[in-house]
């Protein structure tokens, strides 16, 4: 439904192989990879072939399509739209051949995966002799899903993306609809919403955080992830409880062809990854990472003062058992842990060591997932996951705060993808249960708050899709209930979308309601609070101009109501810079409303050796916190965000890339005077017009160079990712000196020569 919903695929083994002998130059076949859209994830393997003339891009009718796997052959004919589709097929490699009609024969090999749908596009040329060019397909086409347009980038593209250290989720920050976070930390500011309004999932199961400390890295190794689903808004009923966007990390459901692994060392962390195939239907994989930013920073910081600084350090680990079931489904068990710590250690009055400032975030999760084909086009996906989470803060002498939920998630979904059929459906339950314990006892932030309540958040959803010619109609309904001890809230969210068009041109539109419950802390103080909601509308146009160049543009408008406002002076676990004010210190209330509207566009050029895109977002995000107040800019309102990047292979295994970014500065409220509090001996600011000023625009350039050396049994690669290559001193956050007489802005991190080496076998 949303043209700019993007999907990032991440598997070495899944790169489809194009026609190795017969493809005419400039007319490659394209295979759209498996499974990103939830409904499709649950589907049995389906193959859909689209054939278009390489010169005119017109659909080619009446061509023969042969899909072959061993002794099995399926024969099809393309229809008036140039399409040919199969029913459920056996998983594994299939050879697809297109022939007849005066066109040269085209062949491609694709890997069909249980529970997925794969689209293959051919662009044959009339009477053109085949040549001997062999190439790899890097970008695969858009998937035929009933509601979400998705784009697939290969893992190679992600790994070589300048400025992101090859991190899978940081790559999302380059996409339209995502504003640039202050200090480039691990926040996703999606379509004019706050970071806490967006949610992160692992295979549909929510996870507490997606980034390690300061956004250096995603908490799950990207090599375990097949794709990252990025849904900035107007998504289907599978996702709920959030007003903003969704990031869904989806683990691979393919067994490795052979045992493999790597060890990588870079400026920030060391990573080890191993996956071992066991027999024909089982595999074990392990990943471990440990940062050593502390080892680099501690000597510097500790040399500057008396306190002993334990700079940010993190580690994470994942252990996974993946099995193929006799029925063609998969079963996997995944353990994942993540731990981040930062401490400043000093001495108390008795000269004993004490933690002056400490910040800790960790979680441990066990996730079980089963995907099975139920027959007749239906499939079932079951996920159960749970474990403890902790976020804690301490400040000497006696300040302490923590949030320690124990959440168990249960999701079961039965789906039939519409594919090339007439109808599709999805039916699921999504339940979170457990407990929530929290305490906020930091004297500078007011009175102590304690909560210890059981959690239960059940939800059910249903969705149907109907195809009438080139039009797909989708309607769905999601019902959510939330119970925190004695407090209960509910929400009913209807959503609908329409998709019109063929493979080259697609128009889309959607409208729906999205709800987000208040937090435990908020309802503990104000039990009368209700869920906030957002009505979201969007329209989009996707156009594939040539086999290597396509564009997408989307417009959207969101209306937010019943936003929970107040208590901005209370202690919070900020994922970014704390607000600078003026602060709404009134009690919590469902009084906030907001308007968000904008246009997002991306143009992307992808060849076998290069990839480049230009992403642009023009938007406006407005809020009115309290009744009677004037409407003001949202604190992260960035009217213009532009990202241009490109990466290309050079001879002798060299690769070079660059990324340029421009973003309007965030609004802020100027300090026009100050008041001296004689009791606290500190100045208090007097603010001017709310959000009456803006930070200067952000401009940055990143450059990356890679080199690989291939040996008999292994490959060594090295890179230099020069982040902020021009050493631009962009203003990230406004700050003031001690008496507010002068602005003292916090500027961006200077040039960072991130480098690393990787040995893979």
């Amino acid at each position: 439904m949303l043209p700019l919903t993007l999907l990032i695929g991440l598997s070495f083994a899944q790169t489809p192989v194009g026609p190795s002998e017969s493809a005419p130059p400039g007319a490659p076949a394209e295979a759209s990879e498996t499974a990103p859209e939830p409904a499709e994830v649950l589907a049995a393997p389906v193959l859909e072939v689209i054939v278009r003339d390489a010169d005119t891009l017109a659909p080619v009718e009446g061509l023969s399509v042969l899909a072959t796997r061993g002794e099995i052959t399926r024969s099809l004919l393309t229809d008036a739209e140039g399409r040919a589709s199969t029913d459920a097929l056996e998983p594994g490699p299939w050879t697809v051949e297109v022939l007849g009609g005066g066109y040269g024969t085209e062949t491609a090999t694709v890997e069909l995966v249980a529970g997925t749908a794969t689209e293959v596009k051919f662009f044959p040329t009339l009477a053109v002799a085949p040549d001997d060019l062999a190439f790899e397909i890097d970008v695969v086409g858009k998937r035929l899903t009933p509601e979400v347009t998705e784009r697939v980038l290969t893992s190679e593209e992600i790994r070589y993306l300048p400025g992101t250290n090859g991190d899978v989720v940081r790559a999302v920050q380059n996409l339209p609809g995502v504003a640039r976070p202050p200090l480039n930390i691990g926040q996703l500011l999606i379509r004019g919403t706050a970071p806490e309004d967006s949610a992160y999932y692992l295979d549909g199961t929510s996870i507490p955080i997606v980034f390690h400390f300061a956004g250096l890295s995603t908490v799950v190794n990207g090599d375990l992830i097949e794709e990252v689903g990025f849904l900035p808004g107007s998504y289907g009923v599978r996702y709920g409880r959030t007003l903003g966007g969704v990031v869904d990390l989806r683990t691979t459901v393919k067994l490795p062809e052979a045992s493999n692994g790597y060890v990588s060392v870079d400026l920030f962390q060391t990573t080890a990854f191993v996956q071992q195939r066991i027999g024909s239907s089982n595999a074990l994989s392990f990943s471990g990472r440990r940062s050593y930013v502390d080892a680099l920073l501690n000597p510097i910081l500790n040399g500057a003062g008396d306190a002993a600084v334990r700079a940010p350090r993190y580690y994470d680990g994942q252990l996974r058992w993946l099995a193929e079931t006799p029925t063609g489904g998969t079963f996997d068990l995944l353990w994942l842990s993540s731990d981040d710590r930062f401490r400043v250690v000093g001495q108390d009055a008795d000269e004993q060591d004490e933690v002056q400032i400490g910040l800790t975030t960790w979680f441990h999760k066990l996730r079980l997932q089963s995907r099975e084909d139920l027959g007749a086009g239906f499939s079932n996906e079951l996920s159960i996951g749970g474990g403890p989470e902790n976020q804690s803060f301490a400040i000497a002498p006696d300040g302490e705060a923590f949030e320690r939920p124990f959440r168990v998630s249960f999701r079961d979904e039965v789906a039939k993808p519409v594919g090339s059929g007439l109808w599709g459906a999805r039916l699921g339950v999504d339940v979170i249960g457990g407990s929530w314990k929290s305490e906020y006892d930091v004297p500078a932030f007011g009175v102590r708050e304690v909560a210890d309540v059981p959690l239960l958040l059940p939800a059910g959803y249903a969705e149907g899709t109907l195809r009438t010619g080139p039009v797909r109609w989708t309607g769905g309904l999601r019902g959510d209930v939330a119970s925190y001890g004695p407090w209960t809230g509910s929400a009913i969210d209807p959503r609908a979308s329409v998709r019109i068009g063929d493979a080259a041109t697609v128009f889309e539109g959607s409208y729906g309601r999205y709800s987000q419950f208040p937090t435990v802390r908020q309802v503990e103080e104000r039990p009368e609070l209700e869920a906030a909601s957002s009505w979201q509308a969007s329209v989009g146009w996707e156009q594939r101009w040539t086999p290597v160049f396509d564009t997408e543009i989307a417009g959207y408008a969101n209306r937010l109501t019943d936003l929970v406002v107040g208590r901005e002076d209370a202690f919070r676990f900020f994922s970014g810079p704390p607000p600078t004010g003026p602060l709404d210190t009134g009690p919590y209330a469902n009084e906030g409303v907001g308007r968000i509207y904008g246009v997002e566009a991306i143009a992307k050029l992808t060849t076998d050796r290069s990839a480049a895109w230009l992403a642009a977002t023009v938007s406006r995000s407005l809020r009115t916190d309290r009744e009677g107040e004037d409407e003001a800019l949202f604190e992260y309102d960035q009217p213009v965000v532009l990202t241009a990047l490109g990466t290309t292979e050079l001879p002798k295994d060299w690769r070079i890339g660059a990324r340029g970014r421009y973003g309007t500065g965030n609004p802020y409220t100027e300090v026009v005077n100050r008041i001296y509090d004689l009791d606290a001996r500190a100045y208090e600011p007097v603010f001017g017009e709310r959000d009456g000023a803006r930070l200067p625009p952000f401009v940055s350039l990143d450059v990356r160079v890679d080199k690989a050396w291939t040996f008999d049994n292994w490959e060594l690669s090295a890179y230099l990712d020069l982040q902020n290559a021009t050493n631009a001193q962009n203003v990230e956050v406004m700050s003031w000196n001690f008496d507010y007489s002068e602005e003292d802005p916090v500027t961006s991190i200077p040039i960072v020569p991130a480098f690393g080496v990787r040995g893979a076998w």
Binding site: L301, G305, F342, P577, I675, D677, L678, D679, F738, V746
Partner: protein
Amino acid sequence: MSRALPLLILAACADGPSEETLVRDVQVIAAVADPPSVAADEPYTLTVTAADPLDRGAEVLVWRCDDAGCDTQRGAPDDEQAVFDLLGGGGPLWVLACDPGICDLDDPRPAHLRDPASWMAELPLEGVSLATREVPVTTEPVAERPTNPVVVRAPEATRLGEASPKEPAALRFTVPGAERAWGYSTAGGFEMPVEDVDSEGVVTLPWYAPKEDAAARLYVVFEDDLGGVTVWVGESAP
């Protein structure tokens, strides 16, 4: 917050005078109530110390508002100190020091008195200092109330002459009952904005002389935990 912490730590450990202790413009340094805590409607004396490093002749307005209205008193400081006779009561007490001609101290608007931030939003940063404090309200008999701390020993004036821009002079005070000492200086500066007073009432504040050959006026404010305040003022010759 995460990235700012190391930067704050680095900034806090710089050598030399603290910027926070330097008084460049008119600034309310202290408002000492005597007695330090008062009963409702009980008369008391408020002594305002308003530094005037540019010697422009700043004037002071003191006021407090309650449901019935706002009581204002205006005064011209003598040697940077102005004394006001007030009546006790809860709520914030406001002290505004202004260079002549900047603030309308003759006929302040009631809305400005009730919302001093709105007044400050209309005034310039230079030549204006607004401060606030709450004088503790008590029901105890006068004889049983704590009194303001008293400076029983202060450094000799010659001690200040020992300071240089790079090597501070250690200014040692004895103020029984005080808990903290805040240093302010019109030139040069104290090493730290605040120092803890030990259990015997002794505290040492390192003070740096100005780089230029200039006189400096020093203010050290001593506080206890019960609202008691006292101010020591010293001078350093060029």
